[in-house]
Structures are given as C-alpha cells and as structure tokens.
Amino acid sequence: MQDDDLINEIHDRMGSLDVHRGYLLDQVADVERALKRYERALKALGDPAYATEPKQVKPNTHAAQRSAQQKASAMKSMARSDTWPHLREAIIAYAHEHEEFRQVDFRDGYDITSSKSSTAFNLLREENVLRISRVDGNSKFYRLTKEALDAN
C-alpha cells in the first residue's frame, strides 16, 4: 500500500511539473515572438546591427565556362586572320612604350572595335606576352610579362 501511495504522489508531482513546463514553453515562445518583432522593427529603422549584407551572387561557373569557350573560339579565329600579325605587333609596340595601359588607351590610336581588341588582348595573354597588372573599377590594366620584356 505504501508503494501505491508513493507512486500516486510521484504521478501528482510529475503532472504539476508537466503543467509548469507547458507554461514555461508558452512563455519562451511569447518572448521569442516579441524579440523577432523588435528585431524586424530595428531592421526597418536601419539599425546597423541588424542590417543585412547585400546578397552575394554566386558566379555561374557553367556560364563562365561557356563564355570562355566562346572567347577561345574568337581567339582561334583571330589568330588565323591576316590582320593578326599587324595588330599583334602594334599592341606589343604600344606595350613597350607604356608600362601599364588599358585596352581603351590602345584603341585611342588604333582603329579597332572593343570586341576585337578584347580578343586580341586575351590572345596575347594566352601567348604569355601580356598579363593583367591591376584592376581599378571597370578598368583592367595590362603590362608585358617578364618573358616578353626579356625577349626585347
């Protein structure tokens, strides 16, 4: 009989603790909802602590590879063209005169479209004659490689 009483008492205590747990869980849920409301308000007010970073766009590697293939195709076509040797020499001569330069600088003195100059510069990069020296905003600066400088 004594064991039965003990069991009943334990059940009663467990029941009251279970009720108390439910009450506490409700309170936690209320507090979390209130915190989220305040966070949304701070974000809307422009608080720097809750400002979200601009979403980073993941580079599309397939598109990059496709674009690279198109570039490679344009480069092969230019390398076979009759105008390439003359254009190549003109760019190299310009590069020897200028330590660092942009494509647009070269185009100022040479009648060529930006698309063609871009292909020509990429072709010279592949030949290890030119290399990217630095990037400033949208401008890419190029210079001769050590190999090209030593060849002169």
Partner: protein
C-alpha cells in the same frame, strides 16, 4: 567577364602565372604579400568578405608555388618553384622547332616525361592543360 568589371577568379578568368605575377608585384620589401593587397590590386572591395583570391592563393600554397608566413595566415611569398614558374618560360628556337616536328606518339611521350616530374610541376601542367583545352 561575367563578374561585371571585376576579374573572374576562375582558372579561365586569370591564369596561375598571372596571379603569381601579381603576388610578386605587390610583395613588400621583406618579400611577403598580404591577401588583401592582392584583392585590392584586382579591384575587389575588401568589405565584401567573399572572394576567390584567398582560396586561389591557398591552393597555390598547397601546390607548392607559395609559402605561408608562420606569423600571419594571410601573408604569402613565392616559393622557389613559384619563382621558377615566372622566371624564364621562353622556349628556345631549337626546342620550339623540335616540338613542332614531333609526331603524335612523341608528343605523348614528352607529356609523360613532364608529368613524371614533381607534384608541383604536374599540377601546373594539368591546370595549364585545362585552361588551354577550351
């Protein structure tokens, strides 16, 4: 380039030797280069944490082309192999002529000969091969 003005940091966007040359360009008097200096040189905004430069440099370190400073994880310098990759890539006329006259079997034999070199050169060869086969 697909990244609207910034350099595409894939192997197709910038070659290993171009990146090594930039590391050499921005090295301090002690020979060490900060990753942030390379990022600035490539026109990246340092406030944007995500960048392909750090991982490219980390892989180059793994390939044995760069060495990392014991004091700072973001400081690198060219290893002797890295320096050799930039030093004198020009083929002599004799080598160029010999390569041009090779039949396909000889070309494969030359590739095998080069590929049996050290890990660092094998990796450089594989990456150049990937970049050229577009």
């Amino acid at each position: 380039m697909p990244t609207n003005g910034r350099v595409d940091m894939t192997l197709y966007g910038i070659s290993d030797t171009e990146l090594l040359a930039i590391v050499e360009d921005v090295q301090g008097p002690d020979g060490w280069t900060l990753t942030s200096d390379v990022r600035l040189r490539l026109g990246e905004n340092l406030e944007i944490k995500r960048s392909g430069v750090g991982s490219r440099l980390a892989w180059m370190r793994r390939y044995g082309w760069l060495e990392q400073s014991h004091e700072r994880r973001d400081m690198h310098r060219l290893s002797p192999t890295g320096e050799a990759m930039l030093a004198n890539p020009r083929l002599t006329k004799a080598v160029h002529g010999a390569l041009s006259n090779m039949n396909p079997a000889q070309r494969i034999a030359v590739t095998r000969e080069i590929a049996e070199g050290g890990y660092d050169i094998r990796t450089a060869l594989r990456r150049q091969w990937t970049r050229s086969l577009r």
